[in-house]
């Protein structure tokens, strides 16, 4: 049986030797662990987070390896855009039910997710959509986190007029409905490619993180160690980046993760409404929008992209939940 050290590092607190003797007297040993190790341990004990992580990696690996990325070819031989002969009314050939249960055995077949009405391979198309949606969500999340963290930290640290100005800007952004501003910008930058679209989407979504980070920084800047740093003449930039931001990492990482999950849903919703990704690019939302009338005749064209959206958003949400539990020092449930 082991006992966790205090998160702040047991060797630094004066109470630690006494606790160690105490523990030794009871036949226990104290293992010193760094903050990172503690967080990692708590994260990997969170079953939902672990399952989410595995699911997310499966989706990413599938999307990247099947149709390749850029010049690198993937193992799937069909091109997402190539039309062809519609076989068997475009029914999916994927089979997962073993033969002894009355199924066709475990195989992918010629068109695992079926074909659309002009004979395009829907598996390749879905993978292309997944790639695009993932790339957009990641870039959006990163941009939003970067901008939000920077503005939040500056506002929280400097107070005064800098804070007033930055927080009023945040209020102004919050007052505009997400779908409205993201939709307008989506239409304005239409045709400039998905990266530009994702960057601008990120520039619409940073407000929540800015508020969170500001709140954290507001409380951290009153701490003694910040005062100590200031009293020896450390410059503000160094205090923010070396002393304050590392301590807000937990909040930032968690909200960045959840931001990516909501970015997937925002992007797919915009693309569904025709305000997001434009042809010839495709995304999971566009696929659903393109084939929404197919639900009664070719339901598979409708199901697969939706299933992938849910898989991505769900797995990231679970990872975010696990991270929150792992970073929260008050968390006591997942300790040994």
């Amino acid at each position: 049986m082991t006992q966790n050290a205090q998160p702040a590092g047991a060797e630094k607190t004066p109470a630690a030797p006494a606790a160690a003797q105490d523990a030794a007297a009871q036949g226990m040993s104290i293992v010193a662990r760094s903050q990172g190790q503690l967080v990692r341990r708590r994260f990997f004990r969170h079953r939902g987070a672990l399952a989410g992580m595995i699911l997310f990696f499966i989706v990413v690996a599938l999307a990247v390896s099947t149709i390749g990325a850029g010049p690198i070819p993937g193992w799937w031989d069909k091109d997402p855009m190539a039309t062809g002969q519609v076989v068997d009314a475009g029914r999916p050939t994927l089979s997962v039910l073993p033969e002894f249960l009355g199924g066709g055995g475990l195989h992918l077949g010629e068109h695992p997710f079926g074909q659309d009405n002009i004979g395009r391979d829907y598996f390749a198309l879905t993978m292309r959509g997944t790639q695009v949606s993932l790339v957009i969500a990641l870039i959006t999340g990163l941009v939003a986190t970067f901008v939000g963290t920077l503005l939040g930290a500056v506002a929280g640290y400097f107070r005064g007029w800098a804070e007033s100005v930055l927080m009023r800007i945040t209020d102004v952004m919050i007052a505009i409905p997400t779908l409205l501003i993201a939709g307008l910008i989506g239409v304005i930058v239409a045709g400039r490619g998905i990266v530009i679209f994702a960057v601008f989407l990120g520039l619409c979504l940073w407000t929540q993180i800015a508020r969170l980070v500001r709140g954290e920084v507001l409380s951290l800047r009153e701490k003694e160690y910040v005062e100590a740093a200031r009293s020896v003449g450390t410059r503000s930039r160094r205090i923010i980046f070396k002393h304050i931001l590392p301590n807000t990492m937990g909040v930032i990482i968690v909200s960045a993760t959840l931001m990516i999950a909501s970015a997937v849903l925002t992007e797919t919703a915009l693309s569904f409404l025709g305000l997001g990704v434009q042809a010839p690019d495709t995304s999971l939302g566009r696929l659903i929008s393109d084939y929404r009338t197919a639900l009664t005749v070719r339901p598979w064209l409708f199901y697969w992209p939706g299933a992938f959206i849910i898989a991505i958003a769900l797995s990231i949400n679970f990872i975010g939940d696990g991270l929150r539990d792992a970073f929260d020092p008050r968390q006591t449930r997942v300790r040994d």
């Binding site: 939902g48 009023r168 209020d171 102004v172 952004m173 919050i174 007052a175 505009i176 409905p177 997400t178 779908l179 409205l180 501003i181 939709g183 307008l184 910008i185 239409v187 304005i188 999950a261 849903l265 797919t268 919703a269 569904f272 409404l273 305000l275 939302g285 659903i288 929008s289 929404r292 639900l295 009664t296 409708f302 992209p305 939706g306 959206i309 849910i310 958003a313 769900l314 949400n317 679970f318 939940d321």
Partner: protein, 503 residues
């Protein structure tokens, strides 16, 4: 407090104006409003371009156009669209459709979400709690447009088909009964035996109920009838009294039971009035019920129990009224279903065009159109309320004063309703306010999936035609809602939580 509100109001107005500048600028950039006119053949082209330029003041700088819009908007005129139609007229019908859509959905998700959150927190780390958590995560991750389309297929089209021959398959009965049993079994506290009893009895009751409903073809011609109304009213009286004051004391229970009895009498007495009432009649009856029940609770409760008896009685009275209302609605179902060709659950729009019927039938018509979009909206926002309520409840339940309450011998009900719930719901109030603010702009996707011409259609026409006016109308309502409700949230929070110091 007044200074705080005044300052908050002042800031909100400036914030709103600043964001309107951004939206106006962006909406002039989306698309060339002259694109269609430029494609016209020679001769017609110059005229069309000149006309649109004149109407939209395209020759003026954007700032001038903005201030012209602002001046008009402050006077209550939101301008004309590219075709010269008044945006105010467009906004009126769009706004009422959106309000219809979001009011029911918001109320439902608040009530259901908070209830589930509370139950989930009270049974922390049980199988029920974990199931709720998992389902909430799935709801968080659902793409609304995808779920909406699925609901249209399975709940509308397939349900309508099923109504033609409303027989419930044994498999379905078994599944639903099992779920009911599992739910009841996990809500009940106690040893394994009492849980098993709860599981078995609730599952069996559900199975019998469904089997009877199926055998009598209830779904083709539903209704509750006096017996069910009476039983429900009495059960409501007992339930509300338990919730409000507990059953240890006589007067509140007596008052609530009398209210239920009055409800049962009213069921028969009001029969002619309720044949084809108008909306004001219904509202009047509801107010009358509340007033009568208030007096009843005040009188029967006496000095000692007044504080408990009044809410219990009023809740019971309104609940009995709602049951009678539902019964009437259900009784008109067969007629309504026939008049719309046996397809009561609709997938498109806000009402059947040119539909005429009694109060109950047009009520059913709205309900049939609202059911699916409401369900889709509820599915999405339910999860947020559940998670927040659960977290907030758990935080309060760990406070010292809750332990003190238990230690001094308060009943669990008193601890939960009076100490935990009251304090736990403070943060939820602000969440509700924020949420209502954003839902106006967020309902666009739902409107689009279910073919409602509501606020979202203003946005889409504006974008399609490169016309700022409808977009600005959309912004005034949706952005205005966000600003106003954020302000309300801040003020409510400062008001409800005395720990907040206003400086």
């Amino acid at each position: 407090m007044l200074v705080f509100i005044a300052r908050r109001l002042f800031v909100s107005i400036w914030v709103f104006l600043a964001s309107s500048v951004i939206v106006f600028f962006l909406s002039t950039q989306v698309r060339d409003p002259l694109a269609e006119a430029r494609a016209l053949p020679d001769g017609a082209r110059e005229n069309a371009i000149a006309e649109i330029t004149e109407r939209m003041h395209l020759d003026d700088p954007i700032l001038v156009r903005y201030f012209r819009w602002l001046g008009d908007a402050l006077a209550g005129d939101l301008g004309t669209n590219r075709q010269g139609q008044s945006v105010n007229t467009m906004l009126e019908s769009a706004f009422s459709a959106t309000v219809q859509l979001i009011v029911g959905a918001t109320v439902l998700s608040i009530v259901v979400g908070i209830s589930i959150g509370v139950i989930s927190a009270l049974r922390q780390y049980t199988a029920l709690d974990q199931t709720v958590t998992f389902v909430a995560f799935i709801c968080f991750s659902l793409p609304l447009f995808w779920v909406g389309t699925l609901l249209k297929q399975f709940l509308a089209i397939d349900f309508n088909d099923w109504l033609a021959d409303p027989e419930i398959s044994p498999l379905f009965i078994g599944g639903i009964s099992l779920l009911t049993g599992l739910f009841c079994g996990s809500v009940v506290l106690g040893d394994r035996r009492s849980r098993l009893v709860a599981f078995a009895s609730s599952a069996a009751a559900m199975a019998v109920l469904l089997a009877v409903l199926s055998a009598t073809e209830w779904f083709a011609d539903p209704g509750l009838g006096p017996v069910v109304v009476a039983i429900t009213a009495v059960a409501g009286a007992i339930g509300f009294t338990t919730l409000v004051s507990g059953l240890e004391w006589q007067p509140p229970l007596r008052a609530a039971l009398i209210a239920a009895a009055i409800g049962i009498v009213a069921y028969f007495a009001l029969d002619p009035v309720l044949d084809n009432p108008q909306l004001p009649t219904i509202i009047g009856l509801a107010l009358l019920t509340a007033a009568v029940c208030f007096g009843l609770g005040w009188y029967v409760g006496g000095d000692l129990y007044r504080r408990n008896a009044i809410p219990a009685t009023v809740l019971t009275g309104l609940f009995a009224g709602a049951v009678i209302f539902t019964d009437r609605m259900l009784q008109s179902f067969a007629d309504y279903s026939e008049s719309v060709g046996g397809r009561p659950v609709s997938t498109v729009g806000a009402e059947t065009p040119n539909y005429e019927g009694t109060f109950w039938e047009s009520g059913l018509d709205s309900f049939g159109h609202l059911a699916l979009p409401t369900l889709a909206l509820v599915l999405i926002s339910l999860a947020t309320y559940t998670r927040y309520t659960r977290a907030s409840m758990l935080e309060v339940m760990n406070q010292d004063y809750v332990r003190t309450g238990r230690a001094k011998g308060l009943s669990e009900r008193a601890v939960v309703t009076r100490h935990v719930l009251r304090n736990g719901l403070i943060p939820i109030t602000t969440l509700i306010a924020y949420d209502i603010g954003t839902i106006v702009g967020g309902a666009v996707v739902t409107e689009q999936v279910f073919g409602w011409s509501a606020m979202g259609s203003l946005l889409f026409t504006g974008i399609e035609q490169g016309d700022p006016m409808p977009i600005m109308a959309f912004f005034v309502v949706s952005g205005g809602a966000i600003v106003v409700f954020n302000m309300i949230a801040d003020i409510a929070y400062a008001f409800l939580d005395p720990r907040i110091r206003l400086s």
